[in-house]
């Protein structure tokens, strides 16, 4: 990271710490003075969460001059960090004791953690995809996979007639047909472990020892397709992981908002029932 991005990050972090320190100091100042400070921090937290959620709304309105998505993401990330300070100020820097509040806390933390991990993952994975090469459009992966499968099957079948031996075809049925049928080694690709690939390569090498020159040529072509399929699986695993984390982060955010609404109703219901007016 250099130049513009480094400057932007440094400025944003300095600002974040300054605002967070100011918020904590303000909170400490008003704690002894205001009996109902948690109402104030609660509404502030809700406003912050609504602002964070509004980013998804911005994405749905690309035709309006609402600022660039990159500016929104920066605000989303740093205001998200700030919400942690507001959240703990709201709960009084302790773990809530009620089950409903505990549930809310857990949900909030999962949303925050999924957001942080998702952002880090979004910064890390594109570099891996680029350095590995073999860029494909995600939507095209099934089509390409099918094409590789057809070509590999065709090679295996033709090898029987050409070499009067079913060695390659048998190997294909035993070890490769399932491999070509769908995505494989998802987690190995995610964590960048090459063990499954090495194992498959080793099996291909073993088979090669028992083939004649002509069959080896065919096996070389099959191996090339296996390599391409492995690259395709890599693209599938990493590209889908870039999409899947949002399926945790976004739905949980909306669930959190619903529970927060219920939390507001319950708080006001109980406080009014107890004769307390905020």
């Amino acid at each position: 990271m250099k130049g513009y991005f480094l400057t932007r990050r440094v400025v944003a972090i300095v600002l974040l710490f300054a605002v967070a320190a100011g918020a904590i100091a303000t909170w400490q100042h008003y704690v002894p003075l205001l009996r109902n400070l948690s109402y104030l921090t609660g509404w502030l937290l809700l406003a912050v969460i609504l602002f964070l959620t509004a980013y998804n709304g911005r994405k749905k309105l690309p035709f309006l001059p609402l600022g660039s998505s990159r500016a929104w993401l920066q605000l989303h990330a740093y205001v998200g960090w700030l919400s942690v300070v507001v959240f703990f100020a709201h709960v009084g820097w302790r773990w809530p004791d009620g089950w409903f509040e505990s549930c809310l806390t857990w949900m909030y933390l999962v949303v925050i953690v999924s957001g942080v991990l998702g952002l880090l993952w979004s910064r890390y994975v594109p570099r891996r995809l680029t350095s590995r090469g073999g860029e494909v459009l995600y939507e095209r992966i099934p089509v390409i996979r099918r094409s590789l499968q057809d070509r590999a099957e065709d090679l295996a079948l033709r090898s029987v007639a050409a070499a009067r031996s079913s060695a390659i075809a048998d190997f294909y049925i035993a070890h490769l047909s399932d491999f070509f049928r769908g995505p494989h080694h998802y987690w190995s690709h995610i964590v960048e472990v090459r063990t499954p690939w090495n194992r498959l390569q080793s099996k291909l090498d073993d088979l090669s020892r028992f083939l004649n020159e002509e069959q080896r040529l065919v096996l070389g072509q099959v191996t090339d397709l296996v390599r391409q399929k492995d690259g395709l699986d890599y693209q599938y695993a990493l590209q889908s992981s870039l999409k899947l984390w949002l399926f945790v982060h976004v739905p949980l955010t909306y669930s959190l908002l619903i529970l927060t609404g219920l939390h507001v109703v319950l708080v006001y219901g109980f406080s009014l029932g107890a004769g307390f007016r905020p």
Partner: protein, 577 residues
């Protein structure tokens, strides 16, 4: 062992004549009229006689009253000569866009912009009837590349706009054809049967080469109409007095290099994986005596230096850029130790140049030029640099971009784009927010593919680049594809597009797609013969939307940028963020 060879006829200069069948009677009639009857046929070489040039590089066309022959702002590769009848050229400020079959993009109202949230069609390529009907003022007639556009209500037009009459024997459109500049005036037929000779640029080039009268006529027209403005636009010549500028103009030579229709050849080579810019013509060679300054007038050239057995690209030069100025300034300031050209200038595609001899530069331009406009002489260190690292010599942009990426940009001609969609693959999460934003702002029809050639972490997506040299605009029969007036972006008027596919075939970057529009019921829009209507579509840079291109604004990770790649500096800045 016998070898079977695949034999073909040797390709010939006139394998593809402009008009497949040019009648002999018409040819004889042409050769009997001025200016062809006054030409000295013996001045033409045996391999390219005047009769063959006329037969193969020209065609006769007839226009009806009010039919547009050329439109101001269009690009074209032909010049015209009136054979019989007469035409009119609209004088400045010219005819309104609406009359020419163009539609300037208008910003949507704020409520219509918001209504896109729920109002976008669920059908692909849905068009409202008013989007497909012709604008008032222009009416396309016919199909295919020969279709024409007629001006409506010509008498009223003549009342409201100033025009000049062009009569038989007069040429027009020759400067735009030779220099690849946009046409400066709209010309339309004034008689009901106006006959014109259309001369394609190759023929015009040969006529210029072998007939002094035409050469003098065109050069005089060029010097009178275009050269002064071209030189005055360059800061180095702005300080010159009128008489000094006339001296420079008198000595300036014009040069045309490469293939005017480079896009077709480039596409063919690219498909075969053989795009090889090093095969292109050399304007000036490294180590030659610097006999003058070359100014790129239009098109592109690349600055190269010998490296190993090949040529390494250091930079590319577009319109208005100089070659050789630094060497000439060096020699002028150090007459005791003159140097040769330090780099070569090679044509990419098609390049039109101005050449000003060293003697004129030294006598007229340099003595009075402000020092801040002159490049610094070469230092001893620069001249003695080790040839194994020629990029280092530039110490600048080419070096910072890196050799691989420079060759990638050059080989693919991406420097042509003023709004090229570049994607930093090391930051792109492949979320497709850009594609969704594009679809949302174009009635659910994305106008680009997030896919395309890449080098390292830089990908150039298949989106209209709004080129400096818009080859897509050459040959559009109705002028539907044009530059919008405000910012010069290339747009397509859906109502006057006749679906001839000329633009899509010409585009070297596969950025124009032909689609079959649908009506409200989801059926294809058809003509009277129930054949589906075709329309060309492409990125319009969201000119009707607020805030600029939606794709760029929708990218959360700073990965996508619409970039002017004619300016290598901004690209370097983006790379080094």
């Amino acid at each position: 062992m016998d070898t079977l060879h695949f034999k073909i006829e040797r390709p010939d200069r006139w394998d593809n004549p402009f008009e497949p069948e040019f009648p002999d009677a018409d040819l004889d009639r042409l050769l009997g009229t001025a200016p062809f009857c006054d030409m000295q046929t013996e001045a033409f070489p045996k391999s390219q006689p005047l009769r063959q040039i006329l037969r193969n590089d020209t065609r006769l066309r007839r226009f009806k009253k009010g039919e547009i022959i050329v439109r101001a702002g269009d690009y074209g590769s032909s010049a015209f000569m009136i054979v019989s009848g007469h035409a009119r050229a609209a004088l400045p400020p010219g005819l309104p866009d609406r009359m020419l079959g163009r539609r300037q993009p208008q910003k949507l109202g704020i409520f219509r912009a918001i209504a896109q949230l729920w109002g976008n069609s669920r059908l692909t390529e849905y068009r409202r009837p008013d989007e497909l009907t012709s604008d008032h003022g222009a009416a396309p007639v016919g199909r295919g590349p020969e279709a024409g556009v007629f001006l409506q209500d010509v008498p009223r037009l003549l009342d409201q706009h100033k025009t000049a009459v062009i009569v038989a024997g007069e040429f027009f459109g020759e400067i735009a054809a030779l220099s690849r500049m946009p046409r400066t005036a709209t010309v339309f037929a004034d008689g009901d049967d106006t006959e014109l000779l259309e001369i394609r640029w190759q023929g015009l080039r040969d006529l210029l080469r072998f007939d002094k009268a035409i050469k003098t006529h065109i050069e005089q027209t060029y010097r009178k109409n275009a050269l002064e403005n071209a030189l005055r636009a360059i800061p180095l010549f702005q300080h010159l007095s009128e008489s000094d500028l006339q001296k420079v103009m008198a000595e300036t030579q014009f040069g045309t290099f490469g293939d005017y229709e480079w896009s077709g050849e480039y596409k063919r080579l690219a498909k075969a994986g053989q795009a090889a810019p090093e095969k292109e013509p050399v304007v000036a060679a490294e180590n030659d005596y610097p006999d003058g300054v070359v100014i790129i007038r239009s098109g592109f050239a690349r600055l190269t230096k010998q490296f190993g057995s090949g040529q390494r690209t250091l930079n590319y030069l577009g319109a208005g850029r100089f070659f050789g100025l630094r060497e000439i300034v060096h020699n002028w300031k150090n007459p005791a130790s003159p140097i040769a050209f330090q780099t070569s200038l090679r044509v990419i595609g098609y390049t039109h140049t101005l050449f000003i001899p060293t003697s004129v530069m030294e006598r007229v331009v340099l003595p009075t030029a402000p020092q801040n406009l002159l490049p610094k002489p070469f230092t001893a260190a620069e001249l003695n640099l080790d040839d194994t690292d020629p990029l280092h010599e530039q110490g600048g942009l080419g070096n910072r971009v890196g050799p691989e990426l420079m060759e990638f940009l050059t080989a693919n001609r991406f420097f042509n784009g003023t709004a090229t969609m570049v994607i930093d693959l090391a930051r792109c999460t492949r979320c497709d927010d850009c594609v969704r934003a594009c679809a949302a702002t174009h009635d659910n029809n994305p106008r680009f593919l997030r896919h395309g050639p890449s080098s390292g972490r830089v990908q150039v997506a298949q989106a209209c680049m709004h080129c400096t040299d818009p080859v897509c605009m050459i040959g559009c029969p109705t002028g539907a594809i044009h530059r919008e007036a405000a910012q010069g972006n290339v747009v397509i008027n859906q109502s006057t597009c006749i679906g001839c596919t000329t633009c899509a075939n010409q585009c070297p970057y596969e950025a124009i797609r032909m689609v079959e529009p649908r009506d409200r019921d989801g059926g294809f829009v058809t003509d009277q013969e129930l054949k589906p209507i075709l329309k060309a579509t492409k990125c319009d840079l969201c000119l009707e939307q607020y805030g600029g291109p939606a794709c760029e604004r929708a990218c959360p990770h700073d990965a996508l940028k619409r970039m002017n790649l004619t300016d290598l500096g901004s690209f370097v800045k983006w790379l080094e963020r």
